[in-house]
């Protein structure tokens, strides 16, 4: 008997995402949009007996909801700081607010600088303190002991984000705007910073940031500067300290994705959490439940980037399906994750990380079985475990690459055919390195004397991995730099890919159905 798979989240996520896209290109009145949603919902209700028509109206309502939700989220409050920022050009302003992000120390041309996001509460004006709202990025050009949750008064100059990049496909201003930041407060080394209260933040986030800081210290103490920078990227999500030449090697060989926390990392981390919990005398359900909780804590610790959130949601749903003893469908779970991320912030749809993360997973789901089948047919005379591993690795790698090729060519202006082969070596290496990194963290807090063994193994593997990547970049035709790929070309590529998928489905359906064959 053929079982029909029910995938409600795909049907909701796609029109919702379309609505988000429309809000970026269309200019419509908010009231009109509300009216439109109500009308569509009402029509869906009225025609509930004609199921097809009712569904079409409902999908229209969901799409309009995506539009409305994005418009509502991007609209500024009447007391938003952006409305008055223009009155303080190049002037010093005194602002009160709460630190709502991790406080990061980075190096700048003026020495060390401290960066954080400040949720503004008040602004000092000629007429005294006024209540204000909005979020700022603060650049404080000195080291400080500030931390998440501190309520501070700070004096600096307000300005719009500068556009550093010459690229047409990247805008720093847009990147910050997607996070709700429209202005930067630059504070000189001698600028006034006064802490009024501490510990105002969300307790769990405070705990996760404390843990992150301790992990960072462990990595800095046990590894060299560059090794620690790479480990901080793949374990904690901090990529800004990776040296330029190493980052370039990863980009040219098409394996830069391993520097971002993604499904691969989350899979390994969940396995390790689960193995640790297995030692405790608790039931299997509790082990699964606690693994999900620890994963959520880990996602919080890594700063909640879209790829981490996507992977955490997917892993949590899969683990929960064991607890609830229910079957899950991977397309449905992927769409659910997309919907949650868009509800958290619809602007995430325009984030490169979001697009690459979802497209690669989607592409693996669609193309992996087909490429694998094709390769197995080609290699049917060679049956060994090594060949099976090779087929599996090449299939996953090329499936993912097919999905992200258009976007990578557009955003990064590079095509890296070598990545299909580089991933065969780099992915297993990174899996071992992540496991060792997690082991190092656990050992550092339990048996500090054993840290050396883990650190040495990490050092060996990290350097070996970078040497491999360096050698891959030296292969003739490893990468091709391309300039000026237009959006039209990218759309054309994805239309072609879509046609390939649909054609494949049709052919498979025809092959399965004896009636159609006749």
């Amino acid at each position: 008997m053929k079982i029909k798979i029910h995938r409600p989240f795909i049907v909701v996520a796609i029109p919702f995402a379309l609505g988000v896209v429309l809000s970026g290109v269309m200019d419509s009145s908010f009231r009109m949009a509300v009216l439109f949603v109500c009308l569509l919902l009402f029509s869906s209700f009225i025609f509930k007996r004609i199921r097809l028509l009712s569904t079409v109206f409902l999908l229209g309502a969901i799409m309009s909801c995506g539009f409305l939700y994005t418009q509502a989220r991007n609209s500024l409050a009447s007391d938003h700081l952006s409305h008055v920022a223009k009155y303080y050009p190049r002037k010093l302003v005194l602002i009160e607010g709460v630190i709502v992000s991790d406080v990061e120390e980075r190096s700048s041309f003026k020495g060390k600088k401290t960066m954080f996001h400040l949720q503004v509460t008040r602004l000092k004006t000629k007429w005294g303190w006024k209540e204000k709202s909005g979020k700022l990025l603060v650049n404080l050009f000195r080291e400080s002991d500030l931390s998440y949750g501190d309520v501070i008064i700070i004096e600096g100059r307000l300005h719009q984000p500068f556009e550093f990049s010459k690229s047409d496909t990247f805008s720093y201003r847009d990147l910050l705007a997607r996070k709700g930041i429209r202005h930067i407060l630059s504070v000189k080394a001698r600028g006034r910073v006064e802490v009024i209260r501490r510990g105002e933040g969300f307790v769990l986030k405070q705990l996760s940031l404390k843990a992150k800081r301790r992990f960072k210290n462990v990595l800095n103490e046990t590894l060299s500067m560059n090794e620690a920078a790479i480990m901080r990227a793949i374990l904690l999500g901090d990529r800004h300290d990776i040296p330029k030449h190493v980052r370039e090697l990863f980009q040219l060989s098409g394996v830069a994705h391993v520097l971002a926390i993604s499904g691969l990392h989350i899979g390994i981390v969940s396995f390790l959490f689960f193995m640790l919990l297995k030692m405790l005398p608790i039931s299997r359900r509790w082990q699964y439940g606690l693994t999900v909780l620890l994963l959520l804590f880990y996602a919080l610790l890594t700063g909640g980037r879209t790829s981490v959130v996507r992977a955490t949601i997917m892993a949590s749903v899969f683990i929960s399906s064991f607890i609830l003893e229910r079957e899950t469908d991977v397309f449905n779970v992927l769409s659910f994750a997309a919907l949650v991320i868009l509800l958290l912030n619809p602007n995430n749809l325009f984030d490169v990380g979001f697009q690459l993360s979802f497209l690669s997973v989607f592409s693996i789901i669609v193309f992996y079985p087909r490429i694998s089948k094709l390769l197995k047919q080609l290699m049917r005379h060679h049956k060994s475990r090594g060949i099976a591993y090779l087929i599996q690795s090449i299939s996953v790698s090329s499936a993912a690459y097919l999905g992200v090729l258009g976007l990578i060519a557009y955003y990064f202006q590079i095509i890296t055919p070598i990545s299909v082969f580089a991933n065969i070596i780099i992915i297993p290496l990174i899996a071992v390195i992540v496991s060792l990194g997690m082991g190092l963290m656990i050992v550092a807090f339990t048996i500090p004397t054993a840290v050396v063994a883990f650190a040495v193994c990490i050092k060996l593997l990290l350097n070996a991995m970078v040497v491999c990547i360096f050698l891959f970049t030296k292969v003739p035709g490893a990468y091709v730099l391309i300039r000026g790929i237009s959006v039209k070309v990218v759309i054309l590529y994805y239309c072609g890919l879509g046609a390939l998928i649909l054609g494949g489905f049709f052919l498979e359906k025809r092959a399965r159905s004896p009636d159609l064959q006749k």
Binding site: S224, M225, N226, E227, I230, P243, K244, H245, V246, E248, L249, L252, F271, M275, K278, S435, L436, G439, A450, V452, A453, F454, A455, V456, C457, K459, L460, L462, N463, V466, V467, F470, T473
Partner: protein
């Protein structure tokens, strides 16, 4: 006894034993022969830097190199045009408009390949 541990537990224990074995041996070797540590630690050296050839690089490629701004890039191109070919990177040291401290910083990112190499 062999069935005492589950498959995953055996995997983790094997991994742990391997880590302690490799870690202990290597840390002993690194202490005994410090030069070994230098060979392994390639990331903190300039051995893996993809160097740009100053004889073939365009203005845009030169500007992409750390510590080379538009002024320095223009000076390099002017010098290359004037001389026809740069035989060694050291020729750039002391050129008017290229500061010595800047030269020392970008030195690791550039190379002057000979005509036969190109």
């Amino acid at each position: 006894m062999l069935t005492y541990f589950s498959r995953q537990e055996r995997l983790v224990l094997n991994g742990l034993v391997l880590v302690i074995l490799i870690g202990s041996v290597c840390s002993y070797l690194f202490k005994r022969y410090p030069q070994l540590g230098n060979i392994v630690n390639v990331m903190d050296t300039d051995r893996l830097i993809l160097k740009t050839d100053v004889n073939t690089a365009t203005f845009d490629e030169l500007v992409e190199i750390p510590y080379i701004g538009p002024v320095t890039a223009r000076k390099i191109l002017e010098y290359r045009e004037e001389k026809g070919h740069i035989n060694a990177v050291s020729e750039l040291q002391g050129l008017p408009g290229i500061r010595d401290e800047n030269y020392k910083k970008f030195l690791v990112y550039v190379v002057a390949r000979s005509l036969s190499d190109n």
